[in-house]
């Protein structure tokens, strides 16, 4: 059964790695719903958050292919239940419409939104939440002449994760292995991932 999976990849910071990871999906004609690259809890380590709709088997194989890349440290995949995730959205609306017709205060309260910019000609609202929530505000703002709408990629925190190294233990079960020794190379050098 296809489900929405969030793949979290910890990588080195290297030019070209984004392409290496992206082509793992495109080669298999898998559409990436959302992609975010950011720093992680570990300095110098980047964190990719990738959302796709696929079966677990496919996602597992994809993660192994991702991990095969030289500069990838680890890839995890999670269902939506296993993560806390958010997306941010920006909405640009004509200020006069807003001022005259909208109950702004109620709107902001109900949607957890805030006004980022208020100018004579337009106002920009911002809200953060899950897809349905940010979509809902689109519906609300459309009658007021929504000029522009943009939503960010998903960022997600894995509920069960106690940081990078803790999650390693869990993942180990899905690897053909029992011990956690796999992590030993990571201990060397920079001493970042001691277990």
């Amino acid at each position: 059964m296809k489900l929405e999976y969030t793949i979290t990849v910890y990588t080195e910071n290297q030019v070209g790695l984004l392409n290496r990871i992206a082509i793992i999906f495109s080669r298999r004609k898998i559409n990436v719903e959302s992609l975010n690259v950011s720093p992680s809890e570990v300095e110098g380590i980047h964190r990719f958050t990738i959302v796709i709709n696929e079966t677990e088997e496919v996602v597992r194989k994809l993660c192994r292919q991702i991990e095969r890349q030289v500069e990838v440290l680890k890839a995890y995949y999670n269902t939506n239940e296993e993560i806390i995730w958010q997306e941010m959205a920006l909405y640009k609306v004509p200020t006069d419409e807003v001022a005259e017709k909208m109950k702004v205060e109620r709107l902001l309260r109900e949607h957890g939104a805030r006004a980022v910019v208020i100018r004579k000609d337009y106002t920009i609202f911002e809200t953060t939440g899950q897809r349905e929530e940010t979509d809902k505000l689109v519906k609300v703002l459309e009658p007021f002449g929504l000029i522009e709408f943009v939503r960010s990629a998903r960022v997600a925190i894995i509920k069960a994760s106690k940081g990078f190294h803790e999650k390693l233990k869990e993942f180990e079960i899905q690897e053909p292995s029992e011990e956690l020794a796999e992590n030993e190379f990571l201990d060397q050098g920079q001493g970042v991932f001691t277990m």
């Binding site: 990588t11 080195e12 030019v15 070209g16 392409n19 290496r20 082509i23 080669r27 597992r60 194989k61 192994r64 292919q65 991990e67 095969r68 030289v70 500069e71 990838v72 440290l73 690897e175 053909p176 292995s177 029992e178 011990e179 020794a181 796999e182 030993e184 190379f185 990571l186 060397q188 050098g189 920079q190 970042v192």
Partner: protein, 589 residues
């Protein structure tokens, strides 16, 4: 580092690392190009295959002074260069090194990179690139080599600052040669090749934190595997190139001998176990042997060692070894469960895992089970092999040529093949006594691989006889490399099995497209005349009685030699597992 001010020594045609030892300054001034060549020497590289061009000129200029320590083989096309690098790597077990210039030079490498990627061949390719300030400007001979080669390299990197060169090349050799080997491409901009650096010496790379080439072996999985093998009544071992790449031929032999385990090989696993070993039951896959294919669906425990369950091996997956428990030994975790679900994955280097497993398995002889393989061999012999090796028809068969070749080489030669019918026949019937003797393009099926790979194989194993068995189609794809043979005076035997067809495609058209022979009728030039123009001797035969003498003449000849054997036009390779069929539906005719 010395605190005394020293004039930085410069290098000309001397080993920078040697100079460094005597230098008080701790550094020596080198150009990026010299640093590249110093890296190759430090990595023990003796041969480079390449072709110069504008953007790699500084490296070639430096090479002029390194000529005494680095042998550079000027090929006739970059594709020939990279296939030669592959042949070198496969026959020597070392990393193959290839130079090419930017743009077309680099794009000509792509086929070879894809071939090396899918066949796990260690290569370091160095390409020149336009000046860094011209990147992205559509400069002359500029191509986005890094992005073009990303899907077909294990790792690639663009150097724009020469200070990175020693470190990046060390990383390149480490990545190419360790774990599951593969091709690495380093693209170096021209400014970095010219740039002068304070060279501090070369340090080999031994560790990259995001890259773990050697998995820690989990004992419990080895124990589970051993238990499963010990309980098996009908165990069956499949082995691939992993045994050769892991240099674990001895360990593998000890393993199957102790367990009395019948073992069959994949195309690339061929020669890891001597052909006449009593437990060697033959070849797997589409044109493999009868027994190994049929009995895959009868065994109770399937033990896969260093192989990846390619579709040409498995046939229809949902009918593949469903009755068997599967043990999969592989160094690449991405291979485990990729095509065939493993009941016991043994993730690790088979050089380590096999001895552990051997220790735990009981000494056994599966006489009855082995007899079953022999019975299938008897049937295959009757219906296929006899007619192929000892034909009674007028037309010559490819098999009889290979069979006579075996008699004359005693299985000691390196056989390099191209792709197609002759490849299947050569691999099915050639005898091998030692490992790294079979060089062929497996995963990618690259026609044109044979001739340049044979050139590389000879440089990788100069003391051995190298025979390139090639079809009339594939030979015409890369025959420009005859020029390389001419210029280097290399001794490569070229055996053309000419059926005047693109035989494998014709076979499929005959069997599956109602003999609609669409563009498979291929003409050849007079190969004997052709090689003569390159100063290579040759002979063409079409008589059965002449084969043996002609082969002997070829083998005895000092230097390269081409022998063209005219074989039957419409002979087919059997047995065959038709596409979409299960391995047990293998056809003998």
């Amino acid at each position: 580092m010395s605190t005394i001010e020293q004039t930085t020594p410069t290098v000309d045609a001397k080993n920078a690392n040697e100079i460094l030892k005597d230098s008080l300054a701790g550094t020596v001034e080198l150009t990026g190009s010299q640093a590249v060549l110093e890296a190759l020497i430090a990595e023990g590289v003796d041969t480079v295959f390449g072709y110069p061009g504008g953007a790699i000129m500084p490296i070639y200029d430096a090479l002029y002074d390194y000529n005494d320590r680095l042998k550079h083989i000027l090929v006739r096309h970059e594709q020939g260069g990279i296939h030669a690098g592959q042949g070198y790597a496969r026959s020597s077990g070392k990393v193959g090194v290839v130079f090419a210039t930017s743009g077309p030079g680099a794009t000509n490498l792509v086929t070879g990179l894809a071939d090396a990627m899918i066949d796990s061949t260690p290569l370091v390719c160095v390409t020149g690139q336009v000046f860094a300030h011209l990147l992205g400007t559509d400069a002359f001979q500029e191509t986005d080599v890094i992005n073009i080669t990303t899907p077909v390299t294990k790792w690639n990197y663009q150097v724009t600052d020469a200070n990175e060169i020693p470190h990046v090349l060390a990383k390149a050799f480490y990545i190419a040669g360790t774990g599951r080997p593969g091709p690495v491409l380093i693209d170096i901009t021209k400014n970095a090749q010219i740039q002068k650096i304070d060279y501090k010496g070369y340090e080999k790379c031994t560790h990259i934190r995001s890259y773990r080439p050697k998995p820690i072996v989990r004992k419990s999985y080895v124990e589970d595997a051993a238990k499963m093998i010990n309980e098996a009544k009908k165990p069956f071992v499949l082995f691939g190139q992993g045994v050769i790449l892991g240099k674990a031929e001895k360990e593998f032999k000890a393993f199957i001998e102790k367990g009395g385990l019948p073992a069959a090989w994949t195309l690339l696993g061929l020669s890891a176990l001597p052909t006449d070993h009593p437990l060697n039951v033959g070849m797997l896959g589409m044109h493999g042997n009868y027994g190994p294919n049929v009995l895959t669906n009868e065994c109770d425990v399937l033990i896969a060692v260093g192989m990846r369950f390619d579709d040409r091996v498995t046939g229809r997956l949902d009918k593949y070894a469903k009755q068997a428990k599967v043990i999969h030994l592989d160094i690449d975790p991405a291979e485990i469960d990729k095509n065939v679900k493993a009941d016991v994955p043994v993730w690790g280097d088979c050089k380590e895992t096999l001895p552990l497993l051997t220790k735990l398995i009981q000494e056994k002889q599966h006489t009855e089970w082995l007899a079953k393989f022999n019975e299938f061999t008897r049937q295959e012999n009757e219906v296929v092999i006899q007619h192929e090796l000892h034909p009674t028809t007028d037309e010559l068969t490819m098999g009889e040529v290979i069979n006579l070749l075996n008699e004359l080489t005693n299985g000691d030669a390196i056989i390099v093949t191209d792709v197609g019918q002759h490849q299947m026949v050569a691999c099915r019937y050639a005898k091998f006594n030692q490992s790294k003797s079979n060089v062929t393009s497996g995963g990618l099926g690259t026609m044109g691989f044979g001739l340049p790979a044979a050139i590389g194989a000879k440089f990788g194993a100069p003391e051995r006889t190298v025979i390139a068995v090639i079809g009339d189609g594939g030979f015409q794809m890369t025959l420009q490399e005859l020029g390389t043979i001419m210029q280097t005076g290399l001794d490569v035997k070229i055996l053309i099995l000419n059926n005047r067809f693109l035989g494998m495609v014709r076979q499929w058209q005959q069997l599956f497209n109602d003999k609609r022979y669409s563009f498979v009728d291929i003409e050849s030039p007079d190969y004997v005349q052709l090689v003569k123009a390159y100063g290579i001797e040759g002979n063409r035969i079409n008589e059965r009685s002449a084969i043996k003498t002609a082969l002997q003449t070829m083998l005895n000849h000092k230097g390269s030699y081409l022998l063209e054997v005219m074989v039957g036009k419409e002979n087919n390779v059997f047995p065959m597992v038709p596409q979409g069929c299960s391995v047990s539906e293998i056809r003998l005719k």
